[in-house]
């Protein structure tokens, strides 16, 4: 059952990712990204990260992506024009990517013994209780610092986008 679920959601994620890259209109890319996030939330659940899955949906898909969509609509971003196919893109970029994928995949594959498997329900420490406890004991300092970070981000965003756009 786990495997099936994994396959479904993995497929959704990959397809949405590819669509993100290949779509011409930004809004379509944004919606594809939402799809990726949703699929990832499900995968988090499979891995036992309940809190993170919920946070993903609420914060990422619900707030950040909405922000993206707002900005796209605000700026009236249109379809991308056809670009001159520069030789760099074809003969440089794609091999680069393939090399990248290859290296990362190889490394990741080597770190994990194949016998290790994921079973839903085996990891029980992803609850809000556990995360809260860790957050307020071991990771208290980063927690407080992030609050400052968010404050700065708010101020920065306000300052930058202050004037009216005509």
């Amino acid at each position: 059952m786990d495997a099936l679920l994994f396959m479904i959601f993995a497929a959704i994620a990959v397809v949405c990712g590819i669509s993100l890259v290949l779509q011409t209109h930004p809004i379509s890319s944004a919606l594809s990204l939402v799809g990726v996030m949703g699929a990832l939330a499900a995968l988090y659940l499979l891995l036992g990260g309940e809190f993170i899955a919920a946070a993903q949906l609420i914060v990422y898909a619900g707030a950040i992506m909405v922000l993206f969509v707002f900005v796209i609509m605000l700026l009236n971003a249109g379809t991308e024009h056809k670009s001159r196919k520069s030789p760099w893109a074809k003969y440089g970029g794609i091999p680069l990517l393939v090399a990248f994928l290859g290296v990362v995949a190889y490394l990741l594959g080597n770190t994990m013994p194949a016998a290790e498997a994921v079973r839903f329900g085996e990891f029980t420490h992803g609850t809000a209780l556990d995360i809260g406890r860790a957050l307020f004991t071991t990771y208290l300092l980063p927690f407080e610092v992030t609050s400052v970070l968010i404050l700065i981000a708010i101020l920065g965003a306000i300052v930058l986008a202050r004037k009216e756009i005509d």
Partner: protein, 636 residues
């Protein structure tokens, strides 16, 4: 006994006058300058009497040494700042401080109207300091410090009228030519340090005593010859004498003090001090005598035809220094020192007197424009006559005793040297009296009414006038010394240090012949310039060839210019300046700049400004990093 006070007092004078002189009044500057030298002289007297020099007995058998400070201590080389007094030092100290003081007093009067007053006296005091260090030093390095220092002061004082180009040129020439000699001296010092492991006089001379006498070549000969090279630079012998006539561009007191009485005698002093070294190399001693004799003769011939009164005396100085070297070279070291002393008296007197004449004539130095001055400046006239008879070797005056001592030693060494020396003595008498007759006798050939036209004398008198007392009192004192100085029996005083040259029996006639030569010289001068004034002209015309040679000082300066000076200057300009400096060094530095710019231009290509290329670089970089980490041991 605080020997250090002797040089420090003039040094203090230098510092005071140098720093504060601008704001002090002239009398304050005078007091500091002359006073410090007077104090130094008095301290010398006190020290020497404390060492029982003036009493009887046998004082200063061994040198009296005062140790102050260990200067260099490096391996086997141990050099300290020591001052030592022995009999030779005593003589030198008295001469330097005594004659120096008289000249300082004279300079107060002579420089009264000159600009740069305090600077002059500051330099003069500095010179005294260095000369005293030179004389008091107990090792070669301290002597060298004094040596260099007096060279520096000579340069400063020759170029005192620094607005005149010929004065600064003369200063440069003096310093540069001296440098060549100093090079020889330095090499000698290195050899001494290497050979004897020390530069201390007592140590070195003690070691040399035990060495055998070298016949021809060897270390001792090398050292001696290099020391001689240094001495020829400082004491203006062949081949490095060319700076001394030009040095007359300085003020006359400078010529008297530095270029007659003290600095130029430093070479003689140094050779006398190193007598032990020279005695162990017969060849070097011969060279010393030869150099001295040749220079004496050579310079005397040039002096015959000069028209500037100071130039005549300058060549006379060179010639007399040659005599001193002759004395040293024939083994009569004490005779050489004796002549050093008497020469200090009468040569300083001659120069100061010449200065008095120049001052009287408001700056005129050409003998052809003088004449009949004995009525206008009687004191100067009589004192200079005393100097003249002294230098001519007329008995019983001082020059006779010292010159005779040298000439008899020369005869013992090699008779031909004696004869050349006698002839030179005749020439000496001739040219000195030529100058005196031209100057003081006959009719006044200069211009009367134009007073102050040379801008140096503002006495407001239209005729030549006598000097003020502050100038003629030192002249008088020096005249007395010139006449009576022969009775200070220096050779006997220096006997424990320098073995006297044995006089073979039956050679007393040498004395009479040399006296006769001097008298003949005076008589000839009398004939030429008083009895028959037209005679010199006709002789010059008849022997116009040789006359041209000696009048133009044998074109030695021109010869040096073409063989040494111009090649060096041209070579420096083309090779060193244009090629090495401009091309190589500047090229290297500019080349570095150009390379940096080139590399920068190349690296600039990565900054394309397009975000996507940056992204591509990031991805490439991350691939490399990940691969590297993977190779280094996995993502553990």
């Amino acid at each position: 006994m605080q020997l250090w006070l002797i040089p420090i007092l003039p040094l203090a004078g230098f510092v005071l006058n140098g720093v504060l002189g601008r704001r002090l009044s002239k009398s304050a500057v005078n007091a500091i300058a002359a006073g410090s030298v007077l104090l130094s002289f008095l301290w010398v007297l006190k020290t020497l009497s404390a060492l029982s020099v003036f009493g009887g007995g046998n004082p200063l058998e061994t040198p009296y040494v005062e140790h102050y400070y260990t200067w260099i201590q490096s391996g086997l080389l141990n050099i300290s700042i020591d001052f030592a007094v022995d009999r030779l030092t005593a003589v030198m100290l008295l001469i330097v401080t005594g004659v120096g003081f008289l000249i300082h007093v004279y300079a107060v009067g002579y420089m009264a109207h000159e600009g740069g007053y305090y600077r002059f006296f500051a330099y003069l005091n500095l010179f005294m300091f260095f000369m005293l260090v030179l004389v008091l030093g107990a090792n070669f390095l301290l002597l060298f410090v004094g040596w260099e220092g007096v060279g520096l002061c000579s340069y400063l004082l020759i170029g005192f009228y620094f607005h005149e180009k010929f004065a600064t040129d003369a200063g440069n020439k003096a310093f540069i030519v001296n440098r060549i000699g100093d090079f020889g001296f330095s090499l000698a010092v290195f050899l001494i340090a290497k050979q004897f492991g020390s530069l201390d006089f007592a140590t070195v001379f003690g070691q040399v005593k035990d060495l055998p006498v070298e016949a021809t070549a060897g270390v001792i000969t090398a050292i001696s010859l290099l020391l001689l090279l240094g001495a020829t630079g400082k004491s203006a012998q062949i081949p490095l004498y060319v700076w001394l006539p030009d040095a007359m561009a300085g003020p006359t007191p400078v010529s008297a003090l530095i270029h007659a009485a003290t600095m130029v005698t430093a070479g003689v002093y140094m050779i006398a001090r190193s007598s032990q070294i020279f005695l162990h190399s017969a060849f070097a001693l011969d060279i010393v005598a030869l150099v001295g004799l040749t220079t004496a003769f050579f310079a005397a011939t040039i002096g015959l035809a000069q028209n500037d009164i100071k130039k005549v005396f300058a060549y006379s100085t060179v010639s007399q220094l040659g005599y001193m070297f002759l004395g040293l070279g024939t083994g009569a070291f004490s005779a050489g020192i004796f002549h050093l002393m008497t020469h200090a008296f009468f040569k300083a007197l001659l120069f100061l007197g010449a200065g008095s004449v120049i001052h009287a004539l408001s700056g005129e130095q050409d003998l052809r424009k003088m004449g009949g001055l004995r009525n206008y400046t009687p004191i100067t006239f009589w004192t200079l006559m005393c100097a003249g008879v002294a230098i001519a070797g007329v008995p019983p005056f001082s020059g006779f005793y010292s010159k005779d001592a040298i000439l008899s030693a020369a005869y013992q060494h090699a008779p031909w040297m004696y004869w050349v020396g006698v002839f030179t003595a005749g020439m000496t008498a001739f040219y000195v009296f030529r100058a005196l007759f031209l100057c003081f006798f006959g009719e006044y050939r200069g211009q009367h009414a134009e007073h102050g036209e040379h801008g140096r004398d503002e006495h407001g008198q239209s005729q030549p006038h006598e000097s003020p007392p502050v100038m003629w009192i030192p002249l008088a004192i020096l005249a007395v010394l010139s006449l009576a100085g022969g009775y200070i029996n220096i050779p006997r005083w220096l006997e424990p240090m320098f073995k006297p040259v044995e006089e073979a029996p039956g050679t007393e006639w040498t004395v009479y012949v040399s006296v006769a030569a001097g008298l003949i010289g005076i008589a000839l001068a009398y004939l030429f310039y008083i009895v028959a004034p037209g005679l010199p002209e006709s002789i010059a015309r008849t022997f116009s060839g040789p006359y041209r040679w000696i009048y133009n000082k044998y074109f030695v300066d021109e010869f040096y210019d073409s063989t040494v000076v111009n090649p060096v200057v041209d070579g420096s300009r083309t090779l060193l300046w244009r090629t090495v400096d401009a091309r190589v060094i500047d090229g290297a530095v500019n080349g570095i700049g150009k390379d940096a710019r080139g590399i920068g231009g190349f690296l600039k290509l990565a900054q394309s400004g397009s975000i996507r290329s940056y992204a591509a670089w990031v991805v490439l970089g991350s691939i490399l990093v990940i691969a590297f980490i993977g190779l280094m041991g996995g993502a553990r």
